[in-house]
């Protein structure tokens, strides 16, 4: 894996010229947004002045301001569209290639909904599904792909309309180093943490999931709950060393993580609250900070291969 020092060199020697060009583009986008906002709010102010005398107070304030905000947001989306795309192709793709030349990047691609649903990690099927920033390729023996996803479930309509986030963050799919046929799911443990042994009983009664697998590693058991169609296979996959590796990965990532082992592949869902790999419009680009953040987000995803030791192939699968 590349170090931060190497990244700094790469930033100075390779990225800098492109960043300077993009910085010009960003400034013009930024200015356009500001001018549009100023114009829109100016018009809104004039409308308020004219109508305030003979119209009810509240609507005459709300409608113009609401209109100005909408115009600004629309302008923001319109002006930054091209810039975002240019930025991703110039910078994010370069960082992906810098991490490993065997990787490819598509700013508009994402893990398909069927792959997401078939991972069996999340129960609720999303009906609002989008994503971007697909990275794919082969690292050593391991085929991998990951992208940012935002999966939501919307129910009801009108006043009863409710939108629930099923998953938001980074979704990784990798070829696992052992053969298996069943389905094993590793989820964050909330019930046992709260209720101890009684919590484990609740998990046993969870009819929506497969059989509960009780593992020997107490630290792992505290953090995760495992369900599987096959008790032996679950332990074949979750060897004592893999349990440790998953724990270490969780602590390193500092995020909520879900895993599943289905169809000879491992799926890892790392929850993020912020958007990933997006350029900032209101801050300068000529700063190492954001670049380091993109790099760290990407390398922690690519690093799953190493973290879970997926390249070790001493089993029949090679």
């Amino acid at each position: 894996m590349k170090s931060l020092e190497e990244l700094r060199q790469f930033y100075n020697s390779v990225l800098m010229p492109d960043l300077q060009a993009l910085e010009k583009q960003r400034r013009s986008v930024f200015n356009n947004i500001i001018y549009t906002a100023a114009g829109a709010f100016g018009v809104a102010f004039v409308i308020i002045l004219i109508t305030a005398a003979n119209a009810p107070a509240l609507p005459c304030f709300i409608f113009p301001i609401f209109g100005a905000v909408a115009v600004t947001a629309l302008a923001g989306w319109f002006y930054s569209k091209g810039y975002k795309s240019d930025f991703k192709m110039a910078i994010i793709e370069r960082i992906v290639k810098f991490l490993d030349s065997g990787l490819d990047y598509d700013p508009h691609g994402y893990i398909s909904k069927s792959e997401f649903v078939n991972s069996k990690i999340f129960h609720t099927k999303p009906n609002r599904y989008k994503g971007d920033d697909l990275v794919w390729g082969k690292l050593g023996h391991t085929q991998l792909k990951f992208s940012e996803l935002n999966a939501r479930h919307e129910s009801g309509s009108g006043k009863n309309r409710r939108v629930r986030t099923v998953f938001k963050g980074l979704f990784f799919i990798g070829d696992f180093n052992k053969h298996f046929h069943g389905r094993t799911v590793v989820l964050p443990d909330t019930s046992e943490k709260l209720f101890g042994r009684l919590g484990q009983k609740f998990q046993e009664w969870n009819i929506a999931r497969d059989d509960l697998v009780k593992l020997e590693d107490p630290d792992f058991e505290r953090e995760f709950v495992v369900y599987s169609t096959d008790q032996i296979e679950a332990r074949y996959i979750l060897s004592t060393s893999l349990m440790r590796r998953i724990l270490d990965f969780k602590h390193k990532a500092g995020k909520k993580i879900h895993l599943s082992f289905v169809g000879s592949r491992v799926h890892v869902a790392v929850s993020y609250t912020r958007d990933l790999f997006e350029p900032r419009i209101f801050r300068t680009l000529l700063d190492f900070g954001p670049i380091r953040e993109y790099f760290q987000d990407l390398s922690s995803a690519v690093g799953i291969v190493e973290d879970l030791n997926l390249n070790t192939r001493i089993w029949t699968k090679n």
Partner: protein, 187 residues
């Protein structure tokens, strides 16, 4: 009114006992089920062994003794009529012998490079890892069962059903020590 209450209490007690009974039977069957899994994997290992023996025999001239011992153990294992304890004992001995063979391979570069052997080695690795997973699954099932047999309130029911605690797989003293290949082959 009083009669209804008495009847109600009796029904609740009966349901409670039925639940305990089912829990215990379920846990006992889980142990049997997982042991069946171990058995199936051991059989898989015994099916693989003749291939492994043929592959290594012509190269490993100095390990004839170990190879013979493995052949003997295999013959004993597949002869049938073995108790669960005997199966476990043979499995333990076999693991030790195979571990020794896999380490000794380092001394035979020709063998190590043979594609046939490399494939066998990977398959053996897989089976060994599956067996170790099955042992862990067995231990988990036994611990679950033993907890039910010893803990309140199911222990009362277990006593009435004549259920006793079961032993978990233990790693023998020999297995805990690193395999001393020299000693193994110089026997």
């Amino acid at each position: 009114m009083g009669l209804w209450i008495v009847l109600g209490v009796i029904v609740v007690i009966l349901i409670f006992f039925a639940m305990m009974f089912n829990t215990l039977v379920g846990k006992k069957n889980q142990v049997i089920n997982v042991f069946g899994g171990i058995d199936a994997l051991l059989k898989k290992r015994y099916d693989l062994l003749p291939k492994l023996i043929v592959a290594v025999k012509e190269y490993m001239k100095h390990e004839c003794g170990t190879i013979e011992k493995i052949t003997e153990l295999r013959a004993k294992a597949v002869s049938g009529n073995l108790s669960d304890d005997e199966k476990v004992a043979i499995d333990n001995q076999m693991s030790k012998m195979l571990g020794g063979i896999m380490v000794a391979v380092e001394n035979y570069p020709d063998l190590k490079a043979s594609e046939n052997f490399m494939h066998l080695q990977r398959t053996m690795n897989e089976v060994e890892e599956q067996i170790s997973a099955a042992r862990r699954a067995y231990n988990a099932a036994v611990t679950d069962y033993n907890n039910a047999v010893e803990m309140l309130p199911t222990n009362i029911m277990a006593g009435m059903m004549g259920y006793k605690t079961k032993k978990v797989f233990e790693i023998s003293e020999e297995q805990r020590q690193d395999i001393d290949t020299e000693a193994l082959f110089n026997k």
